[in-house]
Symmetry: C2
Subunit: 541 residues, 2 copies
Amino acid sequence: MHGLMQEWPLVCHKIIDFAALQHPGREVVSRSVEGPIVRTTYSDVRDRSLKIAQLLAREGFRKGDRIATLAWNTALHLEAWYGIMGAGGVYHTLNPRLFPDQIAWIMNHAEDRAIFVDLSFVPIVEKIASQVPTLKKIIVMTDAAHMPETVLENVVCYEDWLSGADGDFAWVDVGENDACGMCYTSGTTGDPKGVLYSHRSNVLHAMMAALPDAMGVGARDVILPVVPMFHANAWGLGQTAPMIGAKLVMPGGRMDGESIYELLDAEKVTFTAAVPTVWLMLLQYLEQTGNKLPHLTKVVIGGAACPRAITEKFEKVYDVEVVHAWGMTEMSPLGSLCTMKPEYADRTGDRLMDIKQKQGPAPFGVEMKITDDAGNDLPWDGKTFGRLKVRGPAVASSYYGGAGAEQFDDEGWFDTGDVAHIDEFGYMQITDRSKDVIKSGGEWISTIDLENLAVGHPDVAEAAVIGVAHPKWDERPLLVIVKKDGKSPAKNDILSFMEGKIAKWWLPDDVAFVDEIPHTATGKIKKTALRKQFADYKLPA
Amino acid sequence: MHGLMQEWPLVCHKIIDFAALQHPGREVVSRSVEGPIVRTTYSDVRDRSLKIAQLLAREGFRKGDRIATLAWNTALHLEAWYGIMGAGGVYHTLNPRLFPDQIAWIMNHAEDRAIFVDLSFVPIVEKIASQVPTLKKIIVMTDAAHMPETVLENVVCYEDWLSGADGDFAWVDVGENDACGMCYTSGTTGDPKGVLYSHRSNVLHAMMAALPDAMGVGARDVILPVVPMFHANAWGLGQTAPMIGAKLVMPGGRMDGESIYELLDAEKVTFTAAVPTVWLMLLQYLEQTGNKLPHLTKVVIGGAACPRAITEKFEKVYDVEVVHAWGMTEMSPLGSLCTMKPEYADRTGDRLMDIKQKQGPAPFGVEMKITDDAGNDLPWDGKTFGRLKVRGPAVASSYYGGAGAEQFDDEGWFDTGDVAHIDEFGYMQITDRSKDVIKSGGEWISTIDLENLAVGHPDVAEAAVIGVAHPKWDERPLLVIVKKDGKSPAKNDILSFMEGKIAKWWLPDDVAFVDEIPHTATGKIKKTALRKQFADYKLPA
Ligand SMILES: Nc1ncnc2c1ncn2[C@@H]1O[C@H](COP(=O)(O)OP(=O)(O)OP(=O)(O)O)[C@@H](O)[C@H]1O
Ligand SMILES: Nc1ncnc2c1ncn2[C@@H]1O[C@H](COP(=O)(O)OP(=O)(O)OP(=O)(O)O)[C@@H](O)[C@H]1O
Ligand SMILES: [Mg+2]
Ligand SMILES: [Mg+2]
């Protein structure tokens, strides 16, 4: 027997409809790609999205068509999202920091039919357009005055194009399980894999994200998503902010400390989110200038483990609450957020910082477990680590095109590829990637723990640990070090610094010094490249 | 093209699974029906729910079976909910304040197959069991020591019964659109109508309810639902609290000021919710004793318009935030919550109280509009009032058995039967019920406005306004008054008190004094009865 409740599909256009009805005048402030700060509202964003949808439909784009965006975070990019979804299409965010060839590879894999592109990225599209045969239309997101000369065909100037629509259009009818968005993983461990979000997953993720113990944001917040819309769905903020009616502040292409500070201050931002490296730049800038953060109350930090020093600076010096979060493109992306349950709520000082090193508990809507290689559940004791597996309505069920099928089991669990432990109160901590963890004599060694320890040495600028083959133990850790300018520590200096702080058998067998450690386009250490570099490396006997 | 996201149905047992996994030790504290305070946890609640589900399945209860509860708010009642839902059944809450015949009528209408009953309500079941032929099993929620002698057949003692299960059971497989709960409306305007909740509607409602601008509750909250589980689904708190991992404090059958205060204080309650009359009793008690509310931060008040004096006392004297809410059994029940958007956020004092008289904006998941009788949209100007219509995933699509079909239109809008205006920032205010509003010469007069005004007179204890037939104007208002003890105001005293405070043509044509105004089982003025009482009444010429 079914309940007698309304069919009200969870579709994304309801989010922008809601924002335009309940929060029509709420501002969306952008640092435009052309330079100036531009102010608009949810009501305008909706009006212009409707026009985009109308134009796309008129020009023959159909339900399910992938339409790429290559753009910074601005109101225009947000309009493009809702316009594409409103036409029944699938917004496909591209990371402009990838090499043009990688972008072309991803576009071909997704079979993108059109692209919305920022002025600054027109040169990229000029390089690759001919390699992407499905691409039928290029919309340069600027006005006539700024429209560049280009050799591209089928190109239009966004504002001119929009002026051809009157917005007298109804959102294309879609079901909640229809695809609406697409994002490829960062490609840290191999080829990027395509994740295809549905309307339902985006709406549910946005609700989960707004909950008090997740991001905890409401209409009185002013939200600055520094995390790019092309990085894991902007952590859902493009849906969450209009759903709750929060003012949005979009940083455009400038994410240096000064530019971010300017927005935080001028727009009285209360909530912001980004990867650790962005915050390093901001904190450095604040230290140099002596500026403070009187309006900001909360910062979500994730995408990579948040160094303790960043958390401490924010909380102790600037009185800003840090929420350490873990997520994946495959999870829309939020998987856990380290907010305090009553069990930890009265902690302060160092004891609180200890907890904030963890990636935290999963909110309702994310099921989590850790298993050994054979799939047996492991205990939640805060020590035993294993493969981290998840289930939920905003978790991928497969990759676009069928890659990585082995990561999905028949009970619906997705193997995240991360290795973690979970404590008795449900607080998860990432200890490694399963492709990076070192298997030494049947036991696991966390490379992240070793790296965190090594960078604590005063002469070390960056550290990476990889496993190298060992005749007796299968694998043993090699520590790769970039020295700080003007320093030249000996191998043994570093090893004896580490000794006693970890189990003896975890101590790296050797230290190698390099000028640079390879990184991905999202700034993560690229261990695949590092392993290639040290493929012929022989450990000392 | 579908998204490639997991199928993860929104079913209620996931809520209690989540609570037991992520918040196993979180307390559920009850004032038991037997008297003492009883402490349990979400982990226990889940274990015992599993046993209930196991027993119900073993005894032949099947998916979709309605299983009644006649009980106060306690952990046992909560276990019964999750046990019934976990067996694929439909919990059907009964209001013990109804006359036994009304309860029997509702049970027969729902065709309840079993009932979980509190010790205190066994006499009611004894009276009606023979009138409900579908009823196959009666579970008295107590232990052997307290089990009463009873003439009832097919009766078991809850704790004895539970001891026959080992909990080795998997929740019965249900889809998210399957029915899981049922509640009849209060019967204020006619026969009670059955609302059939689905798993999906309950889960989505719980998420909506927890959002920062709705109830805004999290794991560090201690939630006391004074609003009964048999009244409109306990405003969703039986799902919301475990979903967010908040400690629950259940008041049992004692809702007087002293008993509620005891729990608020001893359990350090941070959040509570109930109808205005409960808060009147508490505030009176606090005034008499001089006690304060140091732990409580927020109280949600709804079910009937919240008098300004209550809001002011809570906010100004006890520093507790009042959230005025509107809802209906048909809406699971939350429809709007008067929290502050930025447009009103800097108001203080009387100007803030003015806003808190409104029932507030709708959260995401509730669409709202006002129309005239012909169905034309009315403007959101804070003055023009009309029929309030809603849509949403937790709004009924029809009544059980098909009553009231005229309230549902073909675009999915449900006519709430309430009359309201909405202001430019989306703040809704109820002005009347459509069955009560007085149509005088084609224009509408709000009976609630007149009543609120009349009770402001120092000699008036209670006031109700009804329309009576008028040869020229169709209907004109009659003011019915219960005088305060020892006071005897003249008709004209009251009318001249009202004059000048409302449009002249709104002034009641007459005043009638009565000893008592009839009320429903949920404490609302029963205007149907009052209209009957004054059916032959002739207005003065
Ligand atoms: N707070 C965090 N602490 C540690 N690691 C994190 C954190 N947040 C995210 N990560 C890492 O980032 C990963 C998700 O990143 P993303 O989806 O951008 O692609 P990727 O995993 O880096 O690339 P690919 O899957 O293509 O190899 C997680 O699986 C985890 O390894
Ligand atoms: N904050 C509020 N202010 C004014 N009225 C309210 C408020 N909250 C609820 N109500 C009234 O209560 C109604 C919902 O109550 P409920 O579902 O318990 O049944 P009922 O409408 O009283 O009974 P029935 O539908 O059987 O006549 C709303 O439609 C509205 O009239
Ligand atoms: Mg990955
Ligand atoms: Mg009603």
